[in-house]
Each structure stands twice: as structure tokens, then as C-alpha cells.
């Protein structure tokens, strides 16, 4: 299977691990990730103000390219996924936005939200299947692993349609597939404190600490995430009690290809 892939800025710089372990794992799983050409930064956050247009154009360019290259766009960073999926929803359902954005971008054919945006975890679940992944595991990760969802993959659920927003299961099913013992903890879908550290670093520190304490008291030995900002906040403010890693690192380890990453 070939699929158009949008990595995003952070995966080319600070979060190379998230990207490279995803790529080597995909190879084992029979997926070729085709990085789209000349992609631009998604902007990191989606602005809900209805008259925002310019901040959404880079996502549209990526979506339109994927439309011409297989019709699906694979994402990996939670933030990119959130932005691209929501902009795609606007292209599909907000006529005013769609008309203005298309008038500006003037693609050969107007883009109206045709591309299907899928996160890497959704690809594992829906396109490959956890059963098939489990069969390919050579080094099961025998640990108590807490899957941290944060906000961006799940909310707003009407648009993201990723999983049950209050009781998600894709990360736990993933953890089982790689041989781990999933730890469900109360704060797994609460905010890490996000970008607010720029205005109020105590608020971010407090939110991250609560997440780590929640995972720890549920018995976790390690936390996995799909978001570079969550990883940064949790490592920085979590008190170093439990390590936080990208889910793709554990996947590569379990598939026996971590050294190739």
C-alpha cells in the first residue's frame, strides 16, 4: 500500500524519532509512506474564528496534492492531524470558506474536501488491523504502558471522529498488539498545558504534572504519545518519574527494526 504522507515541521527537527520509527515500522507492515512535495507548516493550531482563511491555506495545499495522489493523506503529529482534518472539514462544509480559499489558491479543479485524512494510528487500526500487527511482533514490549491521547486527536469529536472522545481505545489496542499491558488512567484525554507556557508556564507545568501523576498512580511504567508538544511538556514538567516516548518508537522496537530507524 502506498499513501501520501504529511510529516510537518517538528518531525523534521525536534521530533525526528516520531517520524523515523514510523517509517521503518511502515515498511515491515507493507506500507510505503510517500512524503508529499513542498509541503508547508500547518500552523500548529487551528483557529476556530469563522473568518480565518490565510492560516488554513497551507493545509489545503497539502490536501489538494493528496487528492491527486491516491486520495488519502496520512498524518502522524497530533497537531498537524488536528489542523489538517479540521481545515478539510471546512473545505467540505463551510461554503463561504471553500469559495474564498479556492478563489485564492486557484487549483486546476476546486478543492472541496475530497481527501480522506488518516492518522497513523487510524491506519494501524483500520487499514492494517491490530491482529495483523500482533502477528509481526518479534520483541514484545512487556511493560505497563499508559497511552496518552491528549486533546488534539480526539476533540472536537464531531470533526475528528477518531475514537470515543471520553473512553478511547485505539492506543490501548495498539499497546496490546505490541505485547504491552495497557494502563487506562483518568487524565489520558485531558490537556497537557499546550502552548500556554508562553503566557503562563505554571499553568502548563501544573497540567502536565497532573497527567504524569495520574499515569503513575495507575501503575504505568512508561507513557506513549503521538504529539511532540505533549512529549515536551510531560517530560519537562512531569518530574522525570516516568519516561514519555513516541508510540512509534515502541512499535519499531516490537517489530525488531528500531536499529534501522
Amino acid at each position: 500500500m502506498r499513501i501520501s504522507y504529511y510529516p510537518g515541521c517538528t518531525l523534521k527537527t525536534q521530533a525526528k524519532d516520531l517520524d523515523r520509527y514510523a517509517r521503518v515500522s511502515a515498511q515491515v507492515l507493507g506500507v510505503e509512506m510517500d512524503e508529499i512535495e513542498n509541503w508547508q507548516c500547518c500552523g500548529g493550531v487551528y483557529n476556530t474564528s469563522r473568518d480565518e482563511i490565510a492560516t488554513k491555506l497551507s493545509a489545503l495545499r497539502a490536501l489538494e496534492q493528496a487528492k491527486r495522489n491516491g486520495g488519502k493523506l496520512l498524518t502522524l503529529c497530533s497537531a498537524c492531524h488536528n489542523v489538517i482534518k479540521r481545515v478539510n472539514d471546512d473545505a467540505k462544509n463551510d461554503e463561504n470558506f471553500c469559495a474564498k480559499a479556492n478563489a485564492y489558491l486557484s487549483f486546476d479543479e476546486p478543492y472541496r474536501g475530497e481527501t480522506q485524512v488518516i492518522h497513523y494510528l487510524e491506519m494501524l487500526r483500520d487499514e492494517i488491523g491490530f491482529q495483523k500487527i500482533a502477528e509481526k511482533i518479534v520483541r514484545p514490549v512487556k511493560k505497563k504502558i499508559a497511552g496518552y491521547y491528549g486533546c488534539l486527536l480526539l476533540r472536537p469529536s464531531k470533526v475528528m471522529a477518531f475514537d470515543n472522545p471520553e473512553n478511547p481505545s485505539v492506543l490501548e489496542n495498539f499497546i496490546e498488539a505490541i505485547g504491552g499491558d495497557p494502563v487506562r488512567f483518568p487524565m489520558r484525554n485531558e490537556c497537557c498545558g499546550a502552548y500556554v507556557s508562553f503566557k503562563d508556564k505554571d499553568l502548563t507545568a501544573k497540567r502536565s504534572r497532573l497527567v504524569i501523576e495520574s499515569a503513575e498512580s495507575a501503575g504505568a511504567e512508561i507513557v506513549v504519545t503521538a504529539c511532540p508538544l505533549c512529549l515536551y511538556n510531560l517530560r519537562k514538567n512531569g518530574g522525570g518519574k516516568i519516561d514519555v516516548v513516541y508510540f512509534t518508537e515502541l512499535l519499531a522496537e516490537a517489530l525488531g527494526v528500531k536499529e534501522n530507524g
Binding site: Q14, G44, Y195, V196, D200, P228
Partner: protein
């Protein structure tokens, strides 16, 4: 823009039907930044209904909202308090000289592990 027009603009770009709010307070109850906010999420909705536009524009809470969407997800009436907060913050940052962060604020915050995503996101949320 006068006060009434600004209020209408905020309402328009908030993308939500504030009149559906039944004042249950659940949004504020679930808000992770509740304690740090001078105006609480349910009050953003209420103030906009009552036309207290100046109060909204002076709010400090717009800088504390995490855009976590918990209030939106959990409102039993399908209202988006975050949409109102974002509409206010966007309206403020579009005004001359009202950016939330300045270039001088950045160096002390940056360390060697900071993800690019954080810099971009903070600039997008706080500045125009």
C-alpha cells in the same frame, strides 16, 4: 467599529449558537484553566448574550485558554464556549499593538528541546 458592531463581529466569528446555553456551568466545571481565568468559560457565553463586549475585550482569560476543546466536547447544549473565547482573542490580537507576546519574551522560554510546534502554535494563538 463601535461596541455593538464589535459584539456582532465576535458573535459572527465565534461560529456558535450562544442562545442555546442553559447556564449549567458544565463548561467551566470541566475547564483545566478555570482557576486562572478572570472570566470563566460559561461567562464568555453569558456576557456575549448580554452585550458586555468591553468586559470581554479586557479579559485576561483569553491568554489562559488552552484550546483543549473540553468545554465544547462536554457542553450538553452543543454550544462552543471556546469558540467565543477564540473569537474575542482573535478580535483583540487583530487590533494595533495588542499582540499577546513580543519577540523579547521568547529567548528566556526557549530551551534546546523546545518543539517547533510550540513556537508556531504560540505565535498563532497570541499574535497577528
Amino acid at each position: 467599529m463601535d461596541k455593538r458592531e464589535t459584539g456582532e463581529q465576535i458573535l459572527r466569528i465565534s461560529g456558535t449558537e450562544i442562545r442555546k446555553c442553559m447556564k449549567c456551568g458544565k463548561c467551566s466545571g470541566r475547564c483545566p484553566a478555570y482557576r486562572e481565568m478572570d472570566i470563566k468559560p460559561h461567562q464568555f457565553v453569558g456576557y456575549l448574550i448580554k452585550g458586555k463586549t468591553e468586559k470581554l475585550l479586557e479579559s485576561e482569560a483569553i491568554w489562559h485558554c488552552l484550546s483543549c476543546m473540553a468545554c465544547v466536547e462536554r457542553c450538553p447544549r452543543g454550544v462552543a464556549p471556546q469558540g467565543v473565547i477564540e473569537a474575542v482573542r482573535t478580535t483583540v490580537t487583530r487590533m494595533q499593538g495588542k499582540n499577546g507576546i513580543s519577540a523579547e519574551d521568547i529567548p528566556p522560554i526557549v530551551d534546546e528541546l523546545i518543539p517547533q510546534q510550540l513556537l508556531v502554535s504560540a505565535y498563532r494563538k497570541y499574535n497577528k
